[in-house]
């Protein structure tokens, strides 16, 4: 994997000596350049790690355990479906990013520019609210007594300074999140090994693959259907995380991403290399290039299947085992949740863990604090990365600035806004628009599934387009997300899916 300074590789020429290009849409054509060699098998862990770090969050540790407490482990098949769809999305996002070095936002703009601006606007609406860090900070307050506003403000400032002083931002993100995810996985395994039992594990695993159990009638209520939709959307990476994955892949130098310079911290903006006007394409008629492409596909498949799918399933299985244990020890929790007390799950699970071994209420809050902070680290980087990418390429006059400067503008913008909101306003967003925000974050998932299906079938050369089955999964996934959220709004009038 290329870790040094990056310059775009040479453009190949045709018999007449002119540069060869691949045309996709009305935007600048992609020059044909050489595809780099793929890394040896798993020796280099890819950006799936960052996606796992972001994706394994409240969905796995809170939303799904809550559903299991209420409906039992047989509802878990929905989680399996959700993660499988996300697995396909991840592999397809990687296909576009590795083949072109462009983000999915650029790919969407090649299809229809307003589509990209829609994602730009949704990102601002959904992600400027610092709700994710306040959740973790509240858990920290439970543990230490430090007021959550103080720790959340400090957390935001630390993130801003960190991303400003480092030379290559991705390297910092990767190292930090690798450690946190490692601790989370090992910690989950140890807790699961102490709290659970063989019978709980058996029920959880059976529920994960029992596709014949359907959805309980109790779930089709105004109180619970939106929660089921939310849990489905939060199975694996939620919101725009999969779209940002294309930007991390590029910074990692995966496939044609090697021809695009990496995002640097503001203090190192002067060292930024020249950014080409578009991504590039490789020669899909060249068997040698196709061999290298297969190597990259294999590399990303390992990343997706073992790291993303494996770790997501593992963490959620362990947390479900813990939830089953909680439900056994604290039957009141189920009753409270059924009566509509949404906040009963967290203390109920913590209480149940405390009854099991006297220590797990603390553990639970520590996990939630870690999950909250790591989500913030990744989300702020991702937000600034995505918005600066779209601004640089498509906002008139933005190319006067360096990418690092645009990145910092969005990063500090969201941090300063976050600090103001944390201390003087509602962290999740104004109550009146909460429903709209929740609706948008599920809506965007349906929208990117459909966009991705079009982008990969329209913008890529025939030889590297997705198999029709994978396109079908994307289309059905997109329709599924959109139908579920629309049904929730039309039938029950609720889109608050948290």
């Amino acid at each position: 994997m290329d870790e040094g300074n990056r310059e775009p590789g040479a453009v190949t020429v045709d018999a007449a000596g002119t540069d060869r290009v691949w045309r996709a849409g009305k935007l600048p054509p992609m020059p044909i350049r050489k595809l780099p060699e793929a890394p040896v098998a798993a020796h280099i862990i890819g950006p799936a790690m960052v996606l796992v770090a972001l994706g394994v969050g409240f969905g796995e540790t809170y939303l799904w355990p809550r559903l299991v407490i209420v409906f039992g482990p047989n509802i878990r098949w929905l989680f399996t479906i959700g993660v499988l769809v996300q697995l396909v999305v991840m592999l397809e996002m990687a296909r576009y990013a590795m083949a072109t070095g462009e983000s999915i936002f650029f790919g969407a703009a090649r299809v229809w520019k307003p589509l990209m601006w829609m994602f730009f606007a949704i990102a601002i609406l959904v992600y400027i609210w610092p709700g994710h860090i306040s959740g973790g900070a509240e858990a920290l307050e439970e543990l230490t007594g430090i007021p959550w506003q103080a720790s959340a403000t400090a957390g935001l400032l630390v993130i801003g300074v960190m991303f400003t002083v480092v030379k290559v931002i991705y390297n910092l993100i990767e190292g930090l999140l690798a450690f946190l995810v490692g601790v989370l996985v090992i910690g989950s395994a140890i807790v699961g090994s102490i709290v659970g039992s063989l019978s709980d594990l058996g029920k959880t695993l059976a529920g994960t693959v029992r596709f014949d159990t359907g959805i309980p009638d109790e779930a089709f209520t105004a109180a619970f259907f939106p929660i089921v939709v939310g849990a489905l959307a939060f199975a694996g990476p939620s919101g725009m995380q999969q779209m940002w994955y294309t930007l991390w892949l590029r910074d990692k130098g995966a496939g044609m991403g090697v021809h695009i310079p990496r995002v640097r911290g503001l203090l190192h903006a002067g060292e930024e290399e020249t950014i080409p006007d578009s991504g590039s394409m490789f020669d899909t008629e060249d068997p040698e290039e196709m061999r290298k492409w297969q190597g990259w596909r294999k590399w990303v498949a390992f990343d997706a299947i073992v790291l993303f799918f494996g770790i997501t399933m593992l963490v959620t299985v362990i947390f479900t085992v813990m939830a089953l244990n909680a439900a056994e020890l604290n039957p009141d929790a189920r009753a409270a949740l059924l009566e509509g007390d949404r906040d009963a799950a967290l203390p109920a699970m913590a209480d149940a863990f405390a009854q099991a071994a006297g220590i797990f209420d603390t553990l639970f809050f520590i996990f939630i604090a870690i999950v909250g902070w790591k989500a913030s680290v990744g989300l702020f980087d991702a937000f600034a990365r995505g918005q600066s990418d779209m601004s640089y390429y498509f906002m008139p006059g933005a190319k006067r600035f360096k990418m690092a400067q645009l990145y910092s503008l969005y990063l500090w913008g969201v941090i300063i806004f976050g600090i103001i909101i944390l201390n003087f306003g509602p962290a999740d967003g104004p109550t009146q628009i909460l429903d709209i925000l929740a609706f948008l974050s599920a809506f965007v998932m349906g929208a990117y599934c459909l966009t991705l299906a079009v982008v990969n079938n329209k913008n890529l050369p025939k030889k590297i387009r997705p198999h029709p089955f994978l396109t079908l999964v994307l289309v059905l996934g997109g329709i599924g997300y959109l139908t579920a959220i629309m049904y929730s709004v039309i039938k029950f009038g609720v889109s608050d899916i948290g």
Binding site: V13, A42, D283, G358
Partner: protein, 205 residues
């Protein structure tokens, strides 16, 4: 896509990691260095269990006992894995052997810890469903620990090998195997730099 006479450099296929390592030439200190990543991860796992026990209100001596009773066997098992890796018994970076190794080692460590805590604290809470249930369950959950171990090992052990490679031939071997790809990229960059410098020199003449 149009065809062309574009220059096509043949890139060698990726090299496979060799299982032959210069293990025989190592001294005791060098073996200790190689075992360190496994020991640290084992101690980290024990520290997580111990710290949470203490924070959760268990008596300090019991919490400490829980931590040590889990940390020591896990650290020893971690060292064992690293030594087998250094001897070339396990391939580098492959997940399956790690998971199989920990299916046995983690289960054993948990059995030892549960038995010791039962003896020390006099409580049967560690194995509420009986030993058979306990052992089978631990073996299954060990997959999670194995993946976590592999994850931390893949992300951090190579950095340690890089630091000790000067005086540790096995670490140097691992670094060389892992940097095969990076090495190829470095060569390509170096030759590009040379070409650019040659062009610049030609222009100045």
């Amino acid at each position: 896509m149009p065809t062309s006479r574009a220059e096509r450099r043949t890139t060698p296929p990726p090299l496979q990691a060799s299982v032959e390592t210069p293990w025989g030439s190592l001294g005791r200190r060098q073996v200790g260095e190689l075992a360190l990543p496994g020991v640290v991860i084992g101690l980290l796992a024990g520290a997580i269990a111990g710290a949470l026990s203490a924070a959760g209100g268990l008596a300090l001596d019991v919490a400490l006992f829980v931590g040590v009773a889990l940390a020591v066997p896990l650290a020893l098992a971690g060292a064992g894995y690293e030594i087998l890796l250094a001897k070339g018994r396990f391939p580098l970076s492959v997940l399956t052997p790690v998971a199989l190794y920990w299916a046995v080692a983690f289960t054993l460590a948990r059995v030892i810890e549960a038995a010791l805590v039962q003896l020390y604290a006099g409580s049967a809470a560690a194995v509420p469903h009986g030993w058979l249930d306990f052992v089978v369950y631990q073996a299954l959950v060990s997959v999670g620990f194995g993946i976590g171990y592999w994850w931390l090992h893949e992300n951090f052990a190579p950095r340690w090998w890089f630091r000790i490679r000067e005086h540790n031939p096995v670490a140097d071997h691992f670094v060389r195997v892992q940097l095969q790809y990076a090495g190829a990229a470095e060569e390509a960059r170096a030759s590009k730099r040379q070409r650019q410098e040659a062009r610049r020199a030609k222009r100045l003449k």
